[in-house]
Symmetry: C2
Subunit: 223 residues, 2 copies
DNA sequence: AAATATATTATTGTATACAATCCAAAAAAG
DNA sequence: CTTTTTTGGATTGTATACAATAATATATTT
């Protein structure tokens, strides 16, 4: 892996794991010193992160970690809601015993991270569950899109996550094991439905300041 | 608009309009001379184009216009097939008379470009029809994704397009007016179905065939 | 003459210097 | 004391110099 790639991954990791919270400034000289390279390489990485919406660059003012707007937050999850459930039938077609084992291993790691209150690891591994699953659908263009959406989701959670969603790292609404059981059963319809409700549940758990009391759905709240 | 942005758009335009065919080399010094800026700005643009899969950069060998693999070609269209029809119901919800007028204007321009055998303009305007429609769904994250897929489609057509699909710029399989009529009628089901068949038809018209490379005068092309 | 080795050339990779811009603090005016 | 102006420092934007690498051409050897 190239030098730039390593720096890119390290900074991205720090962002999605909430070690660099939204709004954090990312000065080029500080970073170049920290990574032991010149500003040139850092600038390349920062521009890439900007294209992928992880940082915002303002001319003559530099880069800072993106603080997603409420609108962006909803759009990211709506995108996942549109794409991820649709991928499930293709995933099921390729589903093998070894996949099941692999993903059950991931879930174990998820549990472990949560038990140890390892927030950073928990976020990383939970995102991995989703985008590695998407990869099984066999379309790398869509897989790359979903992977980016998962990382952006982590940023959204950092900005708008509830206590529970941060503690359960955006997936407190059920256990990924349930999905794996459905996949093993081969129930395509149920798998798709589960994924849909899973993502809607996370989206619903976001706290959006613009949400006033009149917009609360009491039917859903009390049922 | 910033200087880089202008250069980016010009090169991207040249690529999607098939003025820089797949495989064309893009040497930094030639481009910096043509645009009258240093290599620094050119490199930034080339790296962006690489992230978006319009060019491929090989270490110490530089950039060249991406020649999509057959696999990539199919994946791009499968992605559009998964996303675009799904957006149509949201598009219909926002559909207004003024939208209809606007898109009928676009179709007129499409016809005009085709009649004048203006291949470049035809490609551009046809892509615009699709991604401006996607924008009406009200999700900018998905809209940006579709826009990129439309541009990548142009590249795919450059590599694998049939004579008819190039002549009709990937949309010989029917007229976009049909879709507009369905939208005006408000038939959500039919709109979605039309878009699905439309994209499947284009995908089906792709074929495997080589393409040759030639020497390009960058000064002339960009000045 | 064929094959290998070497030298040359062209092109990209990286660091750095300098210019342009913005921000904040201090000085001057009202 | 408040407001405006100015000045200094910090940070990014851009160009360029030099190093590293790959491709090509030339020379040498078998």
């Amino acid at each position: 892996m190239s030098d730039d790639e390593k720096i890119y991954k390290k900074i991205l990791k720090a962002i999605v794991e909430h070690q660099l919270p939204p709004g954090s400034r990312l000065p080029e000289d500080k970073l170049s010193e920290a990574f032991g390279v010149s500003r040139t390489g850092i600038r390349k990485v920062l521009h890439r992160l900007a294209l992928e919406h992880f940082v915002v660059i303002t001319r003559n003012k530099g880069a800072q970690v993106n603080h997603p707007s409420e609108e962006e937050a909803l759009e990211v999850f709506d995108s996942r809601i549109l794409v991820e459930p649709q991928l499930m039938s293709a995933v099921l077609k390729h589903w093998k015993k070894e996949n099941s084992d692999h993903f059950r291993d991931i879930v174990t790691q998820e549990r472990l991270a949560q038990e140890n209150s390892d927030l950073a690891g928990s976020i990383q591994i939970t995102a991995r569950f989703h985008y590695e699953l998407a990869r099984l659908a066999g379309n790398s263009v869509l897989a790359a899109f979903v992977e980016q959406l998962c990382y952006r989701s982590s940023l959204v959670i950092a900005a708008f996550g509830t206590v529970s969603s941060v503690g359960g790292v955006s997936c407190d609404c059920g256990d990924h094991v349930q999905l794996l059981d459905l996949l093993d059963k081969g129930d395509s319809e149920a798998v798709q439905q589960w994924m849909l409700e899973h993502l809607q549940s996370i989206k619903g758990s976001l706290i959006l300041a613009g949400q006033d009391e009149q917009n609360i759905d009491f039917n859903r709240l009390f049922s």
